[in-house]
C-alpha cells in the first residue's frame, strides 16, 4: 500500500469518529424536540414559560414552569456569587503567587474536587449541611436555595479554577516583565496586566462553570428542597428545572402531556446551556489575546 493511501485511510477513519459524535448529538437534539414540542398542542409557549403553577398530575393539569426557571436561575446566580471569586482568586494564587511546591500540592486537590461524584455532594448537602445551616441561621428548613448554591459552588469551583489558571498561565512572560520594568509592584501587575490579558479565558471559565451549575441535577434534587415556587429569600426552597425532570420522568406515563412537558423542560434547559456556550465561544473569540501587542 502506498503511504498516501494510508494517510487517506487515517483521515477518513478520524472523520468517521468525529461524525459519530456529531450524529449522536444531533439525534439526541432531534429526539428532544420531537418528544417536547407536542406539549404545545395543549398549551401555548407563553402559558408554559410564564405560567406560575406546576401541577402536572392534576385534572386539569397546570404546566407553568416560571417557578422552575426562577429556581434554576437563582440557584445558578447565587452559586456564581460564591464560586467565581473563589475560583478566579484561587487560580491567580496558583498561577502567580504560590511557590511551585505549594502549587504542586494545591492544584491536584482542587482538581480532585472536580471528580467528586455529584450524588456524594448532594448527599453531603442533605445530611450534613442542611441541619448545620438550619441551626446556624435559625431558619425553618435547611434544604433550600442557599444550601443547593453552596453545593453547586463547590462543584463549579474546580472548573472555573483550572480553566482560569490555564488562561493566566498562558499570559506571555514579556508582558509581566515589562510591567515590572516600569516599576509596578507584583499586585499592580496582577491586577492591571495579568488579569486583563487573560480576561477572555477567565470569562470562558466562568461561563462554563455556571453552565455546569445550571445543568447539575443530583445536587439540586437532593439539597434544594423542591418547592415549585418563585423564591423570595435565599433561604426559600426551590425546584430547579433538572430536578423536576429527574424526579418526575420515572412516573410520567409514556407520551402523556406530563411526559411531553418534561421533555419541553429539557428543551428549555438545552437552550439555556446552548446560549451559555455561545457566549463563552464569542468571548473567547472576540477578546482573544493575540501576541503581546494587543493589550
Amino acid at each position: 500500500m502506498k503511504r498516501q493511501q494510508i494517510d487517506k485511510g487515517v483521515q477518513s477513519g478520524f472523520l468517521l469518529v468525529a461524525l459519530f459524535s456529531i450524529t449522536a448529538l444531533s439525534l439526541i437534539i432531534i429526539f428532544l424536540f420531537m418528544e417536547g414540542l407536542p406539549i404545545l398542542e395543549h398549551i401555548s409557549i407563553k402559558e408554559f414559560i410564564l405560567g406560575k403553577y406546576w401541577y402536572p398530575t392534576d385534572d386539569p393539569a397546570d404546566f407553568g414552569i416560571l417557578a422552575l426557571i426562577a429556581g434554576s436561575v437563582c440557584v445558578t446566580l447565587l452559586s456564581g456569587l460564591m464560586s467565581i471569586p473563589l475560583g478566579v482568586m484561587t487560580a491567580v494564587y496558583l498561577a502567580e503567587i504560590a511557590s511551585p511546591r505549594v502549587a504542586e500540592i494545591v492544584k491536584p486537590i482542587v482538581e480532585l474536587m472536580a471528580s467528586m461524584p455529584s450524588v456524594v455532594i448532594g448527599f453531603f448537602g442533605m445530611v450534613v449541611v442542611a441541619p448545620f445551616i438550619q441551626k446556624l441561621f435559625d431558619i425553618p428548613v435547611g434544604l433550600n436555595m442557599f444550601n443547593a448554591s453552596l453545593m453547586l459552588a463547590f462543584m463549579s469551583i474546580p472548573t472555573i479554577c483550572s480553566l482560569s489558571e490555564d488562561a493566566i498561565f498562558s499570559v506571555p512572560r514579556a508582558l509581566k516583565e515589562a510591567s515590572f520594568a516600569l516599576g509596578a509592584t507584583h499586585f499592580e501587575t496582577i491586577l492591571k496586566v495579568i488579569i486583563p490579558a487573560s480576561l477572555s479565558g477567565i470569562c470562558t471559565a466562568v461561563i462554563l462553570g455556571l453552565s455546569r451549575a445550571l445543568g447539575e441535577t443530583m445536587v439540586v434534587l437532593m439539597a434544594a428542597g423542591g418547592a415549585a415556587m418563585i423564591p423570595t429569600s435565599i433561604f426559600d426552597p426551590v425546584r430547579p428545572l433538572p430536578a423536576s425532570i429527574a424526579a418526575e420522568m420515572g412516573e410520567a406515563p409514556f407520551r402523556s402531556e406530563h411526559y411531553h412537558a418534561l421533555f419541553a423542560i429539557g428543551i428549555v434547559l438545552f437552550v439555556f446551556t446552548f446560549i451559555f456556550n455561545l457566549i463563552a465561544d464569542y468571548i473567547s473569540y472576540k477578546f482573544r489575546q493575540a501576541g503581546e501587542a494587543s493589550l
Binding site: T57, D58, V127, A130, V141, A252
Partner: protein, 270 residues
C-alpha cells in the same frame, strides 16, 4: 432439512415468541407502589414454577390499567381503584377488567421527634397542606413555622394523600417535595418544624407518627377500617384470569403470598 432452513425457522420462532404473550410468560405493569409486592411475589413464584417467566415494569397505576385494556400486559397493577373513564374505555374495546385487591396500605403523617403535637384531625392536616395553618401553635404545638413536606406529584403515595386528605385540592407550591419515602424520613428527622407523610413500612426511630383524629396509623387500625388514610392495592386482569395469571394471583392471595406482602412493607389482607 438443510442447515439454513433450520436457522430460518428458529429465527421466525424467536421473532414470534418475543412479540406475543403466550403461556408460560407473564407481563406485569403499573403502579410503583405495588411493584415491590409484585417483585417479591414474582421471585417466589418463579422459584416454584421454573417454566414461568415473569417480566415486571412500573409506569404508574394509569399505565397498568391501560396495559390491560390494550392487552400489552396480563396483569395491571394499580394503587387505586379503576376510574369510570377507564371502565368506559374498556367497554368500548370489549374488555372486562377484573380487580383483585392484593394488599392494603396506610399513609401516616409524621413530624419531628421534638414536636409536641401527637394528634391532628383530617381537617387540620388539609389546612396545613393548603397553607392555611402556618404555625404549630394553631394546632396545639409549640410556636414555630410549619415546614410542609410532600411527595412528588407523580408518586402514588401523593395521589392517595391528595384524594383522602386534600380532597382534590392543591398542596401549596411552597411545600418541599422529596422524591421518596426515605427522603421524607430524612428531611423530617432533620427539620424540627417539619410535617410529612410516609407509607406505614417507613416509620422509624428518627420521626414521630401523628394520630389522625385520635387513631394511630397501624396495621390493626387499617384492617378494621378506622384509620382514615388507607387504601387498597389492586391487580387488574383482562377478563377472568386463566392459566399462569390465575396461578400467580392465587399465589399472592395465599398465606405465603400475603407474608411476602408484609415483607414488601405493605399490609396483608389477612
Amino acid at each position: 432439512m438443510n442447515k439454513y432452513t433450520t436457522i430460518f425457522i428458529s429465527i421466525i420462532f424467536l421473532l414470534t415468541a418475543s412479540s406475543t404473550v403466550f403461556a408460560g410468560e407473564l407481563v406485569i405493569k403499573g403502579s410503583t407502589t405495588v411493584l415491590p409486592i409484585a417483585q417479591k411475589a414474582a421471585e417466589a413464584y418463579m422459584a416454584e414454577h421454573p417454566d414461568v417467566k415473569i417480566s415486571l415494569s412500573g409506569g404508574g397505576s394509569g399505565n397498568g390499567i391501560k396495559a390491560i385494556i390494550d392487552g400489552t400486559a396480563s396483569i395491571g397493577n394499580a394503587s387505586r381503584f379503576i376510574k369510570q373513564k377507564e371502565v368506559n374505555l374498556a367497554n368500548t374495546k370489549g374488555v372486562y377488567p377484573v380487580p383483585f385487591r392484593v394488599a392494603l396500605d396506610a399513609i401516616v403523617p409524621v413530624v419531628n421527634k421534638g414536636n409536641a403535637v401527637t394528634d391532628l384531625t383530617l381537617m387540620q392536616l388539609k389546612d396545613i397542606y393548603l397553607g392555611k395553618i402556618k404555625d404549630w401553635k394553631d394546632v396545639g404545638g409549640t410556636p414555630g413555622k410549619i415546614v410542609v413536606i410532600s411527595r412528588d406529584s407523580s408518586s402514588g403515595t401523593f395521589g392517595v394523600w391528595k384524594d383522602l386528605v386534600m380532597k382534590k385540592e392543591r398542596v401549596i407550591p411552597g411545600a418541599l417535595t422529596v422524591p421518596s419515602n426515605g427522603g421524607i424520613v430524612q428531611a423530617v428527622a432533620n427539620t424540627p418544624g417539619a410535617i410529612g407523610y410516609v407509607g406505614l413500612g417507613y416509620l422509624s426511630d428518627g420521626i414521630k407518627a401523628v394520630k389522625v383524629g385520635g387513631i394511630a396509623g397501624s396495621e390493626e387500625n387499617t384492617l378494621n377500617g378506622s384509620f382514615p388514610i388507607a387504601r387498597g392495592l389492586f391487580m387488574f386482569t383482562k377478563g377472568w384470569p386463566k392459566g399462569d395469571t390465575m396461578g400467580f394471583l392465587s399465589f399472592i392471595l395465599s398465606k405465603k403470598g400475603q407474608n411476602l406482602v408484609k415483607k414488601a412493607g405493605s399490609i396483608p389482607l389477612f
